[in-house]
Amino acid sequence: MGKKDTVFKLLCTGFALLSALLMLGFFLQLSLAGADAWKTFGLNFIFSSEWDPAAERFGALSAIVGTLATTVIALFFALPLAFAAALYLVDAAPAVGTVLSHAIDLLAAIPSVIYGMWGLFVLAPIMQDHVQAFFARIFKLENPGNGFGIFTAGVILSLMILPYICAVMRDVFKMTPAVLRESAYGIGCTKYEVAKDIVFRYGIRGILGGVFIGLGRALGETMAVLFVIGNLMEMPHSLFDSASTIASTIANNFAEADGLQRSALFAMGLILLAMSFGIQVLAQYYLHATGAKRGEK
């Protein structure tokens, strides 16, 4: 190899190493900046739901619960929809399928702050006037809520993560060998049976990978949630209660916080980082497994 080649290779290696260094840097920096909070509260920080800036007592539990609750709701709605939509798109006539796929992908292109505005001015009033009023009538709830809360945030999140899950599922379904599906149709299977017994079984790992990709998106989403969740640092008691997520708490309080509160916010950031790291590992594991099955690389 010539001298230029060596330089070029070193350059490329250096930049590639940057991705790993950045990842390490995030862990390191968030741990350091949150050290005060960990020292003061210990592991109790995770299990306490107290949030009292005046008394300098902080706990992350209510935000963690809010994060998990919104994520679960988002997945509950997005998963079946993404699965069914991907099923439709893979089998649709090529022209129709392409256009509709692009249309669904556009959901991912809309900036999250636009989702937030839409949620704040359009979805939240609808939730208050119709959906929550409806549930309040059925379950005889005393406080039907004001439209801002976990449920509304979950619904918006489900729209935001749907295109990601749907895109992964589309790819996975396309990988199912045509011979398998055609043989199934050939012995008289209905579309439902092909979906359940062939496509689903064959692509289960890829589907799980898609689920985790969606989960990761929902966990870390900030703006859309911030606009509609109500930002209340209290343990929520029902799905329609105002609450907060880790990301929304950081975005909402960071500018005014200092001292121990700021450190607590960094500590929450570390919790979020650990959660999203774990989920990414699972996503990579399952997606990588399908890639291997595909016989690529």
Partner: protein, 285 residues
Amino acid sequence: MKKKSLVPRKIKDMALRIFSSFAVLLSVGAMLWILYTVVRYGAESLSWDFLFHKSQPYGSVGGGIANALIGTVLITFGAAAMAVPGALCAGIYLAEFKDHRKLAALLRFSANVMMGMPSVLVGLFVYVILVVPTGKFSGFAASVALAVLMFPVVMRTTEDMLSMVPDQLRESALALGMTRTRATLTIVCKSAKNGLLTGILLSLSRVSGETAPLLFTAMFSDSWPTGYFSEPTANLPVLITEYATNSPFEVMHQMGWGAALVVTLLVLAVNLITRIFFREKKYGN
């Protein structure tokens, strides 16, 4: 084998078909509903003054979004200038130099993890490494934050696009006596040009609407973005957030919608044009 009767099978099949179509309709419908809302409310505030005047301090009437628009463009292109060259090199490393497979797998993994990094954490990270030491919020810090978001995306798409280039091309280039560097840059990268451009432009359109990383880096200001390196810099996403959530005034909500329309149009235009003009060139397998 047990024989299943035909009727329930057909009913289940019908149900799945209906639900599938419903799912597609709902997704596309939601997309159109959001766009319709933004266009309907936003169109009312679009005017010459709105687009070409700077924003006014809180509480005073009138003003536009020109400073925020320029700020957003500055921040986004600053991010691209920082992230793209390095990310291309990193992608080239993953696709072209395969002598350390374990290392490459590790780097690919960390890039994938970075792609799923919550953007608000990127804001915190850059706040600590740039804003705290210099003591200044700046558009530059915001660019760094967006660059951190762009880097792994461009890196991974570069790798994917370069791996699609057939090996014969590489071999022929090397057989002609080209150095590895030249073969990579003039032959491999050039034949994957459309794919690379698509990756860059799509990631650009994605980060230009990001808000969370800008909250603690660029902040907001009502002046023209003259202090890109040293002062809070106006930008559209934070302007929308401020006007929509921190203000009781209908007028400001209205302006927020106008800004939302401008952002959406920008992002979607880049996105659609990229998809239509640079459709990824597939090599026959």
